[in-house]
Symmetry: C2
Subunit: 305 residues, 2 copies
């Protein structure tokens, strides 16, 4: 039975492409593996899959009784709910180490890089396996997406080197143009329900025992969101009401290089405590581009003490 | 300030040598690092350090406020007690994934291999850094120790390949003879207090909420333990009385390829449930060589249901 390669909930481009690439790589190493996902691909990812001729992974609701390879996460909150009844045989990731544990030794490739795609590029090289052209294109886009075309503070030299090498394999001559084309697709919000926007790239965290949700929308220009901002605020209030202490939504402006954060929390002072900026319903946070690097650690510290 | 590279409690040869090697490797990659240990080296390890001219790492009682690289474990129970007040920047290991978590992305090299030393050999190769001759000798012995000269079921092809390459670098022509010499040192128990023998290679586990201790002595011939067996039984009873549900001591016979297990548990049926062999104070378990592979998973399953 093929091992299932699965990324996190609310899959983004990195999670979907990483599942496809790791399934390819592991199968070629003799470990039969199949890419799956915990949800459908978002428009940005569909653009990438279509551009490079990759198939959308099958959406699965559970993994019980299966061998599983986790990509792009190591937190139980972001893994399939029945992961405890599966056997995790490998993890490929670029986040902080989460609370997944195993009962047997496993393979882990985890780097403090901007994208899981960068780690996977290194794995192909390490195991001496050629990267298929279409997968190289997908990994390239995953890195451009996660690093916001190298503008995110999570970007590392490894990410840049991987993009350079992957662009050659995929036959992409203008990486910047490809990145902008992808982010334009991501920025198209006309007619998209507010709920879908909030959950497009949304993660729940356990912060000192409190359930905290943080969503993020990365836009070429966040003024495109002006007319739906009221709906987004109402939507995060509904998400918070569903058993959460706080829900935050980052509206990240790629060109202005900062984020407006919509706030809905039981603790009126938590954002000021975390960022030193006062705000009731929303604040502008200059230079804040990365949920992982700029936002989560600050909230974690603020919730701790 | 140098990052501290630290292995598990009750350090064995793999944990000590891995700390030394990873400190060397990371320092050469530009991350200043220093090998430390949670306890003094055991006789086997002292033999290895002396044979290859390596220094015993400084014993530290805490790591609070420091950057830390964990080697050979990822369980809080086996890490320094104040690890929560330190920043884990990397983990190099070959065990099941434990409950250490981090608040920032990190580097992880974790393989399902027989020894952390095998993973470190691959790291040197991957980063293009030459392995110093003395460290190659230490890593070689770590692998021979952890795999019981390839007799343990945890042994992988990667371990064998690493030993072959490391032996060349270290100038060791007869790997088997070196292994036997090392295990003879390990088997010398005359005049050693029973308590020291129990804790020589001892680990506590959380099994379904119960604290379970498992020690292991690997001997060329376990009949050498006949005259101290009563003392060992008394000692594990004392360890159990100190807040544990069960304590087991494996007396592993390298030549006979099996283990006698001394038993002290609140659940008289747990050993039969785990291994299908009845025994009150002790049982003989043929082919059981590895605590990690042959023993821990079976107890975990037995304690679960």
């Amino acid at each position: 039975m093929a091992a299932l390669v699965v990324g996190h909930k609310n899959p983004d481009t990195d999670t979907i492409v990483s599942a496809i690439a790791v399934a390819d790589l592991m199968s070629k190493r003799g470990v039969e593996a199949k890419a799956v996902a915990q949800g459908p691909a978002v428009p940005e990812t569909l653009f990438v899959l279509d551009k490079f001729g990759l198939s959308q992974p099958e959406v699965v609701s559970g993994v019980a009784g299966q061998k599983v390879i986790l990509v792009d996460h190591s937190d139980l909150a972001q893994a399939p709910a029945d992961l405890k009844d599966a056997e995790v045989i490998a993890i490929v990731d670029h986040h902080k180490l989460g609370d997944v544990t195993t009962s047997s030794p496993l393979l882990m490739w985890v780097w403090p890089a901007g994208c899981t795609g960068t780690v996977i590029k290194a794995m192909y090289d390490f195991y001496g396996i050629e990267i298929p052209k279409n997968i190289a294109g997908g990994l390239l886009c995953a890195i451009l997406s996660d690093t916001v075309i190298f503008k995110s503070p999570t970007t590392t030299e490894d990410d840049k080197k991987a993009v350079e090498a992957l662009a050659k394999i995929a036959g992409v001559s203008d990486v910047q143009a490809l990145g902008m084309e992808m982010f334009k697709v991501k920025s198209a919000v006309d007619g998209v329900p507010a709920k879908e926007l909030v959950f497009r790239d949304y993660k729940d965290f356990d912060m000192n025992g409190k359930k905290v949700g943080i969503g993020q929308l990365e836009m070429i220009d966040i003024s495109m969101l002006d007319k739906v901002k009221g709906d987004l605020a109402a939507e995060i209030a509904a998400v918070k009401a569903d058993g959460r202490h706080s829900v935050f939504l980052l509206l990240t402006d790629i060109m202005k290089e900062g984020s407006e954060m919509l706030i809905c929390s039981e603790d009126a002072g938590i954002v000021e405590k975390a960022f030193g900026v006062k705000g009731d319903k929303s604040v502008w946070l200059p230079k804040v581009m990365s949920r992982k690097k700029d936002v989560v650690p600050k909230f974690e510290a603020a919730f701790k003490g």
